[in-house]
């Protein structure tokens, strides 16, 4: 894939890589790991393969070789050679084809998984006849959170505010974290704590009284009060929100968080199974 025109922030991202946080190296990885995995499954990639994560305006790329691609996550009106192509569906593209994104419709980050077709020469664009439609994933339901270490230390009215108000995502939000805009909360007497580990989804109370949700590109440690944590299963949904969007929070419990995670992983495993079956049948029919 050759870059023709750079996008706002195009990077190749995979699942987070853990194991080096004690060296200060954050796990990083894709913001929306759910869409990443659907995209990889659709083209028959390994679960650990990287896909192109793009924001709007997205980059323009040309394929060098015959490639199987899948576009998941945000709908930016993706086009191949200026013809709009479906999302969540495997697409064969010929060498020389150009991928571009015309107009943002929904979501913040698009994932393009690619796999070179080594034993096949594709002569024209071909959309394979199956799709994985992750329905009901990117809803506007409240983002589910668990209480953080300092949750009990804020006043009941502040807790009420967190759980009842709608928060706007600030334009300064990025892969490291989302700044949320609302009337400032009362800060704690012990606002600066001894630095300790933080994770993706940690909601910190800043000295300004505003909240920040740490996202995939977060640092490994921090010293601000941890009011709450977004559950892992809701992080992909949060990752598809961005500046201009608003969100609400609702409290949940660890058992629900674990159950929802298992459900999501089971769904992804089913998608992988179905996709690999479809792809092998297709290869069989093709030859």
């Amino acid at each position: 894939m050759n870059l023709i025109k750079k996008g706002l922030l195009d990077t190749w991202q995979g699942l987070p890589s853990f194991g080096l946080q004690h060296e200060g190296i954050p796990p990083g990885g894709a913001m929306d790991t759910f869409s990443l995995q659907i995209a990889n499954a659709l083209v028959g990639n390994d679960v650990y393969d990287k896909a192109l994560e793009m924001h709007f305006p997205a980059g323009v790329y040309q394929f060098e070789k015959s490639t199987l691609i899948a576009i998941c996550g945000a709908n930016f009106t993706a086009c191949v050679d200026n013809v709009e192509v479906p999302m969540n569906q495997p697409i064969k593209v010929p060498p020389g084809a150009i991928l571009s994104c015309k107009k943002p419709v929904s979501g913040q980050r698009v994932y393009v998984a690619t796999r070179e077709l080594k034993d096949e020469q594709v002569s024209r664009l071909k959309i394979l006849p199956w799709s994985m439609n992750p329905e009901n994933v990117f809803t506007d339901d409240p983002i589910r959170i668990l209480c953080g270490r300092e949750w009990e230390q804020i006043k009941a009215c502040s807790q009420q505010l967190v759980l009842s108000k709608s928060f706007a995502i600030s334009p300064t939000s990025n892969r490291m974290g989302y700044q949320l805009m609302q009337e400032p909360l009362k800060t704690l007497a012990s606002q600066n704590l001894l630095s300790s580990a933080i994770t993706a989804g940690t909601i910190q109370l800043l000295p300004s009284g505003q909240l920040v949700v740490l996202m995939a590109g977060h640092q490994t440690t921090g010293g601000y009060p941890r009011l709450a944590h977004v559950i892992s299963a809701d992080l992909p949904r949060l990752a598809q929100k961005g500046p201009g969007d608003s969100l609400r929070f609702t409290l949940t419990d660890p058992t629900t968080a674990e159950y929802e995670w298992i459900l999501e992983q089971n769904y992804l495993q089913q998608v992988r199974n179905v996709c690999s079956l479809k792809l092998s049948q297709h290869r069989f029919d093709h030859h």
Partner: protein, 209 residues
């Protein structure tokens, strides 16, 4: 020392030993770091030591399906903490770091501490520091504790800082391993940035510019 264990979201647990920066608390953190590194709990993805805590990040899938979730893990950790400690703790290495004390904030630090620049340099370089943990940036070592005479507040607004700059914040000192915005008061710089590990010792050697 009776550690407290609390959930950090749905897939990590933090073991907090005592809420203070001290050598003895930190030694306990490192002891447990090496224990859980040598004999990892199932599903461990990361072990993150800090001043007074050790955080274990788990694979939620493993923990939720096989160990009754984080609650089950918490019980398991409580049990492990009572068991005899058997892992080997590597000796912290001593790093001697040549430092050119010509940082942009040296005169501000001297003024705000009511000392001369020479005194700041002498006080900063005569103490041996402990690397408590790495965080903030890849390879950024939080070292301390500095002499209370050179305690200085962070900048309110972070400014661009170069790789190799040596700064002060509160009773901590550290070297920026890469260029970054930062709020620490820069007193000097070095071209030698070793590969730090938590538990290492550090000495700054003044060199002339």
């Amino acid at each position: 020392m009776n550690p407290q264990i609390y959930e950090l979201g749905d897939s990590a647990l933090t073991i907090e030993f005592r809420n203070e920066i001290s050598e003895s608390v930190h030694q306990e953190v490192m002891k447990r770091f090496y224990q859980f590194q040598s004999f990892p709990l199932p599903g461990t993805l990361d072990l993150i030591p800090a001043y007074a805590s050790l955080t274990i990040v788990f694979d939620l899938g493993v923990v939720a399906s096989r160990f009754e979730g984080l609650a089950g893990m918490k019980t398991l950790i409580e049990q492990k903490l009572t068991e005899a400690f058997t892992a080997a703790i590597p000796e912290g290495r001593l790093h001697e770091i040549p430092c050119e004390y010509n940082g942009a904030d040296l005169s501000f630090v001297a003024k705000s501490c009511g000392l001369s620049e020479q005194e700041i340099i002498r006080i900063h370089s005569e103490k041996e520091y402990t690397v408590y943990f790495l965080g903030f940036l890849p390879g950024f070592a939080y070292m301390g504790t500095t002499d209370e005479r050179i305690t200085v507040a962070r900048k309110v607004t972070p400014v661009p800082i170069k790789a190799g700059d040596i700064g002060l914040a509160g009773n901590q000192t550290g070297i920026y391993p890469s260029a970054s915005p930062g709020g620490w008061q820069i007193i000097g710089r070095t071209s030698t940035i070793p590969h730090f590990r938590a538990g290492d010792r550090v000495r700054f050697i003044p060199v002339s510019v």
